[in-house]
Amino acid sequence: MVRTRWIAPLVAAPVALACGLAFGGLTGSKHDFRKKEWSGGEGCAACHTPQSPTPPRTPPKWDPNADLSRTFGASLARSKAAGIGTTLCLRCHDGTIARETASAATDRFPNLDNPARIDSGHRGSDHPVGIAYPNVDRGYRPASSVVASGTVTLPGGKVECTSCHDPHDMSGEKHMLVRGNARSALCLTCHRK
């Protein structure tokens, strides 16, 4: 009984702390959805669909043996094509809901006849996401030094949206970058020139 009394605060405290820290940066940013009319004051739900606390409802009529891990397990699973640091963004940033668009596919057409026609990433520039960091390429710094910078991240050894962007906007930099890009400082974290 004593244990159960402590479980809720122990679970809730880190979550509240994380949300509080996140919203410290989110306040006033483009991802601050609390003020939106539709959100009901909940700022997280737009990106982080709340987990249902209620027991499973009636199973599907045509699939009575369905279990939740099979049918709803994908939200936490990492796709082979891209990590959660990209897939979560692409749910909106695919050219429909959010204006800034991204595509996880730029590595698929390295020899396309006219690559200039590909609008693969940012508006006006072109940066792939969901690809392995080119650790052995001389044009790039070693992954270890990139990670050691403390700003750019390479989740799972891949370049994801969250490598350069912080969706919670903790840095307060323009375009939600993880650090300022004056004199291409952010770019030079990975690129040698």
Binding site: T49, P60, D63, F72, S75
Partner: protein, 399 residues
């Protein structure tokens, strides 16, 4: 001392000559150099030659055997739901290129003359199916592919780089005109059946309009406008506004990011309300009837519903981009099943965003249906990510 010298000479004779030795030292003459080159190339040791020959033979035999076996291999079919439940959906094909779906495919002559000869898709978004033709919005190549899956002919709309900037949704009218929602130009581009740009419609000022989903029924074009969180009903004749309904909010009848729309034969409008994690059913005038789904990860819940597809019999397909599956409901809102799944397995739908329902397909595709399975409709699904961006499923919606 003499014995040591002799042993060293013997070692020198026995030691293989290396590539580095081929760089002629000054004291070596031409014969020595020739001998050195032969030692490294033509005159390899006999055991090595035998081994190399065996490897080549093995490679040739393996290639021959695999080439002979390939046509006889049965395709790997994935059924949903898995046994022991009665199969309702079977995955027929995943593809990025029309040629993977219809092997004899080729770009049409008009495509050749216009310089757009691609038969593959970059990043697909909205889909539509009409008269044996699959229409695929491509937000990477910024064109709309029109693939005739009966003849295997590929065309492209907007390949001139001027008429389309970011096509995300497509719908086809009864008169074969094609309507394309362009979120970058914030307009609806209209093409005639031959692919010529005929008009562009913008029911509001550009900064106040952002079309992200389309559906045609009779002479009405239903447009989901993300800028105003509303559904705008236009006349397909001239693009004039017939009515608008919706608005920003979480209550019934309001939307946040309406990302898909479909209209039933009885006039019921189903709108995918993406950021409210639900699909709403409304009357043709916009009066809310009921909602399907709510935020969560339980049966009857959904994450990020995108395009919706509707069969004439009243089966609703909803692409859920968050949970990487397609949810199937009847028009009363009862959950029937889910199919697809995360990346990696055959039949997966890593991030489904587009759906097109076809009641019948040409023989070029029905050949893929396994014997014993009686499909009542077919569903094309597009994915933003994944090794294969397009998938085709056969569905049995019978009792």
């Amino acid at each position: 001392m003499v014995a040591q010298t002799v042993r060293r000479r013997d070692r020198q004779r026995a030691a293989p000559l290396l590539i580095a030795d081929c760089q002629p030292p000054p004291r070596r003459d031409a014969d020595q150099r020739l001998q050195c080159e032969r030692a490294n190339g033509v005159h390899a040791p006999a055991p090595m030659r035998r081994f190399t020959g065996m490897v080549w033979c093995a490679v040739l035999v393996a290639g021959f055997v695999s080439a002979c076996r390939a046509p006889n291999q049965a395709p790997q079919l994935v059924y949903f739901p898995p046994p022991p439940a009665t199969p309702r959906v079977v995955h027929l094909k995943s593809f990025n290129d029309l040629r993977e779906l219809v092997p004899q495919s080729a770009p049409s002559w008009t495509s050749w003359t216009r310089g757009s000869t691609r038969t593959f898709v970059g990043t697909p978004a909205g889909l539509a199916y009409h008269a044996d033709t699959l229409y695929v919005c491509d937000t990477q190549l910024n064109v709309v592919h029109a693939w005739n899956v009966g003849t295997g002919t590929a065309r492209q709309f907007g390949a001139d780089g001027e008429t389309l900037s970011k096509p995300v949704a497509v719908a086809v009218g009864d008169d074969d005109r094609i309507f394309v929602a362009d979120t970058d130009r914030r307009e609806i581009a209209v093409f005639d059946g031959d692919g010529r740009h005929a008009a562009h419609w913008r029911p509001r000022a550009a900064e106040e309009f952002r079309p992200i989903a389309l559906f045609t029924r009779d002479d009405r074009l239903h447009v989901c406008d993300a800028a105003n969180d509303e559904v705008c009903v236009l006349s397909t004749t001239d693009g004039s506004v017939i009515r608008r309904f919706g608005g920003t909010g979480s209550e019934l009848g309001a939307f946040h990011a309406p990302a898909g729309v479909a209209v039933g034969h009885d006039g019921t409008v189903f709108v995918s309300d993406m950021l409210n994690s639900r699909v709403q059913a409304l009357t043709g005038e916009g009066r809310p009837l009921f909602q399907i789904g709510k935020p969560g990860n339980r049966f009857g819940c959904m994450g990020k519903p995108r395009q919706v597809g509707l069969t004439p019999g009243g089966i609703l397909f909803i692409a859920d981009a968050e949970f990487a599956h397609v949810q199937v409901y009847d028009t009363s809102g009862e959950l029937l099943m889910m199919f697809g799944g995360p990346d990696g397995a055959p039949g997966s739908t890593p991030m489904p965003v587009g759906i097109a329902v076809a009641t019948e397909l040409p023989p070029t595709l029905t050949r893929l249906v396994p014997s014993g399975f009686q499909p009542t409709c077919f569903v094309f699904v597009s994915n933003t990510i994944g090794a294969y961006r397009l998938s085709l499923f056969a569905v049995n919606t019978g009792p």
